[in-house]
C-alpha cells in the first residue's frame, strides 16, 4: 500500500513539475492557461487520492478523509470556471498572442457583429 501511495503522489509531483515548466516556457498567455490547467487537474487528483488512501489506511482519521474529498470536489468544480473566466477576460482585454494563431473564428465573428 505504501508503494501505491508513493506512486500516486509522485504522479502529482511530476505533472505539477511539467505544468511549472510549461508556465515558464510557453510563449503567450493563452498557452500558459493550458499549463495551469495541468497543475490544477492531475496534480491535485494525484496528491489528494494518495492522501485519502494514506488517511484511511495509516492515520485512521475519518474527518480528514471527508475534508480531502470536499477539497477534491471543490477543485474539480472551480478549476474549469476560473480558467474559462481568465481566458475570456484576457481575450476581451486585448492580449495579443505572441505567435500567430492558426485560425481565430472568435475574433472574426466579433468583428462581423460590430459591423452589423
Amino acid at each position: 500500500m505504501r508503494i501505491v501511495i508513493d506512486i500516486l503522489i509522485f504522479m502529482g509531483v511530476f505533472f505539477a513539475f511539467a505544468g511549472t515548466v510549461g508556465m515558464i516556457r510557453f510563449p503567450d498567455t493563452f498557452n500558459r492557461i493550458h499549463a495551469s490547467g495541468m497543475i490544477t487537474t492531475m496534480g491535485i487528483i494525484g496528491v489528494i487520492v494518495g492522501g485519502i488512501l494514506y488517511c484511511a489506511f495509516y492515520l485512521g482519521d475519518g474527518a480528514m478523509v471527508v475534508k480531502l474529498v470536499i477539497m477534491l470536489v471543490f477543485y474539480l468544480i472551480t478549476g474549469p470556471i476560473s480558467s474559462h473566466a481568465i481566458m475570456k477576460g484576457s481575450y476581451k482585454h486585448g492580449v495579443k498572442p505572441e505567435k500567430e494563431m492558426v485560425i481565430d473564428q472568435y475574433g472574426e465573428d466579433m468583428v462581423m457583429e460590430e459591423e452589423e
Binding site: 511539467a18 493563452f30 493550458h34 481575450y91 472568435y106
Partner: protein, 182 residues
Amino acid sequence: MNKKRTMPGIISTAILCFIFWMIITGQIVAVFTGGASLQSIVIGLIVSILVGWFSSLFLINDSPFYLWMPARLVNLIGYIFITLPVAIFKANVDVAKRALSPHPKINPGIVKIPVDVSSDYGMALVADSITLTPGTVTMDIVEENGQTYYYVHWIDVETTDPAEAGEIIKGTFERKVKGIWG
C-alpha cells in the same frame, strides 16, 4: 432569465444544503454515535432553508427528481468515475510531452464547433468537461438559428473543419452526456 421560484426547487436545494452542513460540521457522525447537539442541527436547518429560497433560481429550478432514475444515475456515475479520469489522464500526458520536449511544438487557434446537447445542465457539463481536459478551453457559448456553438481555444489545431474538430474534441463526452441529460 425570467424564472420563478417553485416549491420543489426550493425544497430540494434546501435538502442538498442541509446534507452539506451535516457533513462539514461533523454532525452526521455524531447522530449515529450519540451526542449530536440539537442547537447546531436547528441552526443548519434554518440557514439551509434561507439559502434554498435564495439560490434555487440558479441551482435546481424544475423537475428536481429528474436524475432519480436508475439508468440516468448509473450513466452519471460511470461518466464521472470512468470516462472523465481517462480523458483527463490522456490529455495531461499529451500536454506534458509538449511542455517538456526541447522544442515546444504548439500551433494554437480558436475553432467553432457545433454541439447537439440542448438542455442547460447538459451544455454546462460538456463545456466543463472540455475545459477540464488540458489543451482545450471553452471560451464562449452562442446560439445561432437553433444550433448551439462553442468557441474552443485549442493548443494544437489539427483540422479547421468544424465537424471534424468537434469529433476530436468532444466526441466521447457528447455521446455519454446524451444518455444523461439529452
